[in-house]
């Protein structure tokens, strides 16, 4: 649910029917030119206070020592960065985050596309599809805290997942999915896959409904079977949405904190430590705000690389 973002495609750069604020009058009264800024002033103040100042602050912290906890922090250059980048826990977090976000995104895409295509079928009535659609969106309507406790219950060594697997003869005894270093990362990734596919599905469903039926008819006339139609019509038509959603999902998933924090706290043995939980621990468990800030800036830079690809993709589509 923290997927609190929307495609910025709807941003007004496209072609807003914006009026030139009647140049004649504007010249007559220069104060009129300030009108749009007056309307924007609350936004500008909030963006400065909530984003620009904090980013300047965190960058500042990252070059100092003993920030927040002491009065007079000293400038230490890149020492915090050197400390973080050589910390084995940080490197483990980097690797875990890479696995977590790439597996989650691929699974979100595959499940989201499969479900969207089933929900887009012509074979069922509108009401049936509407009911299934609500069921399929369900996981997305629960807050991450709830998702974490649901999966802790299900994945408990004595829980229902283990019961089913034992009944099917797939495991001998209850597996401690979240407590075993060999399975914990896959268990949290699975919970994240479950909670995150609906957003992909909704966007892909809308995109599927936007594909012209003519394209499918033309392909059918050419003798293309279902598979060919999928590969030659559906996928190319969905490509822009798929690429944007995938990049956005990588960004969101890399920011996932609550799920990991509540399911494993980064353990066992750092096997589910993510960049977000590592940074949080440095700051609020170790009170090492300076090295936490350095880690936070590294996370920001990594996100900016992803965001850069996203923006470039958006511009190419335009």
């Amino acid at each position: 649910m923290t997927s609190a973002h929307v495609e910025p495609v709807t941003a007004p750069q496209g072609a807003p029917p914006a009026e030139r604020a009647t140049p004649g009058r504007a010249r007559a009264n220069p104060a009129r030119r300030l009108i749009p800024y007056a309307y924007l002033s609350p936004t500008i103040v909030l963006v400065v206070v909530l984003m620009i100042v904090p980013i300047v602050m965190v960058v500042g912290y990252s070059f100092r020592d003993n920030v927040i906890v002491q009065e007079n922090p000293v400038f230490v250059g890149f020492a915090n960065y050197a400390k973080v980048l050589t910390d084995l826990d940080f490197l483990a977090a980097l690797k875990n985050t890479a696995v977590f976000i790439s597996v989650s995104t691929v699974a979100h895409l595959v499940l989201g596309l499969a479900f969207a295509m089933m929900l887009n079928t012509q074979l069922l009535s509108g009401v049936t599809k509407a009911i299934f659609r609500i069921v399929y969106i369900l996981p997305w309507l629960f807050t991450i805290a709830v998702i974490a406790v649901i999966w802790r219950l299900l994945l408990d060594p004595a829980g229902v997942v283990n019961y089913v697997l034992q009944t099917l003869g797939l495991v001998q005894e209850g597996v401690n999915w979240l407590g075993d270093p060999g399975t914990a990362l896959w268990a949290v990734t699975f919970a994240n896959i479950w909670s995150g596919y609906p957003f992909f599905m909704i966007s892909l469903l809308a995109a599927l409904q936007g594909i012209s039926a003519d394209l499918y008819e033309a392909a059918a006339v050419d003798g293309a079977g279902p598979l060919r139609r999928f590969l030659n019509v559906t996928l190319p038509q969905l490509r822009p949405v798929i690429v944007s959603m995938a990049v956005l999902d990588l960004i969101w998933t890399s920011q996932q904190f609550a799920l990991i924090w509540m399911m494993t706290g980064g353990g066992p043995l750092n096997t589910t430590e993510m960049l977000s939980t590592y940074t949080y621990k440095q700051a609020f468990s170790e009170y090492e705000f300076a090295s936490a800030s350095a880690a936070a800036v590294i996370v920001l830079l990594l996100t900016m690389v992803l965001a850069f690809f996203y923006v470039r993709q958006q511009q190419r589509e335009r």
Binding site: V6, V9, A11, P36, T43, Y136, L153, T303
Partner: protein, 280 residues
């Protein structure tokens, strides 16, 4: 002809099977949460598991709803999410009006900054927010949470409001100006009333984001009387030795506002959410 019909039936059977399997994947965990909330705690891990047990009761709900500390989490969540929704809509309407009805220097730059706010990781912001909120005397207050939640809600709200206002014709504002009114009157007398459907979608999404927020609620509060539902759920996890039935009951109670809002405004909401994706 019969062959075509049979293939049609087969295809339909295939799709229905797929939909049901997918539906089970989506719904079973939720169903299990619901089922567990009605069990006595001793029955939670009984073998073999049962959906409805002998000890079926509303005790877990009674326990949560009869506990002042738990109720306080709900009150806090309503206060914070309600205030965030009202303030976000207010600021977003003003900003959307500026972007939609004016052309001005740095318009694209300001817009790009607002869009990019969405990508900034919360974990990067939480450290300076902690310093900032303490310095401003807002640590462990509603105001601190309301203010910081708006960093998530505003960008989306501004983008959506601008898009919505762009769909409304200019002639509407002009009619007010002909009568001697200003842009301000046009906005509040004409544009905002017409935009109610769009603003509802923005408001619902804003409420959901704030209701679900976890990291800032965890970091910027200290005492239970300021904490919100997601933190309350987490605290239930550590507090008692795993009262699973109560955790599930609290989870369901904590999910109801979002579920109700979603079901009420589903159509509008999904429409607004996907408007961008379709255009891409």
């Amino acid at each position: 002809m019969a062959g075509v019909k049979r293939r049609h039936t087969l295809a339909k059977a295939g799709v229905v099977t797929g939909l049901v399997l997918g539906g089970l994947f989506a719904a079973l965990p939720v169903l299990w949460m619901l089922s567990t909330s009605f069990k006595s705690n001793g029955e939670v891990f009984q073998n073999p598991p049962q959906l409805i047990t002998e000890g079926f009761s509303f005790d877990a709900y009674r326990e949560i709803l009869g506990n002042g500390e738990q109720l306080r989490f709900f009150l806090n969540s309503y206060i914070v999410a309600g205030a965030v929704t009202v303030l976000t809509l207010l600021v977003a309407v003003l900003a959307g009006f500026a972007f939609s009805r004016f052309t001005f220097p740095f318009q694209r730059t300001i817009n790009a900054v607002i869009v990019s706010v969405q990508a900034v990781p919360p974990i990067t912001l939480v450290i300076p927010y902690f310093g900032l909120v303490v310095a401003l005397g807002l640590y462990n207050t509603y105001a601190g949470l309301i203010l910081t939640h708006m960093v998530f809600t505003l960008p989306y709200a501004i983008i959506m409001t601008t898009a919505y206002l762009n769909t409304l014709p200019k002639e509407l504002d002009e009619s007010v100006k002909v009568d001697g009114g200003t842009g301000w009157t046009a906005l509040w007398r004409i544009l905002v009333p017409i935009s109610v459907p769009g603003l509802i979608a923005v408001g619902v999404y804003t409420f959901m984001i704030s209701w679900n927020e976890y990291l800032f609620a965890l970091t910027l509060t200290r005492t239970n009387d300021m904490r919100t539902v997601p933190i309350g759920i987490q605290m239930l996890m550590g507090q008692h030795s795993y009262e699973w039935n109560q955790m599930m009951a609290m989870s369901i109670l904590g999910s109801i506002p979002v579920l109700v809002l979603f079901l009420l405004f589903q159509r509008r909401f999904i429409g607004g959410l996907t408007a961008g994706a379709v255009k891409a």
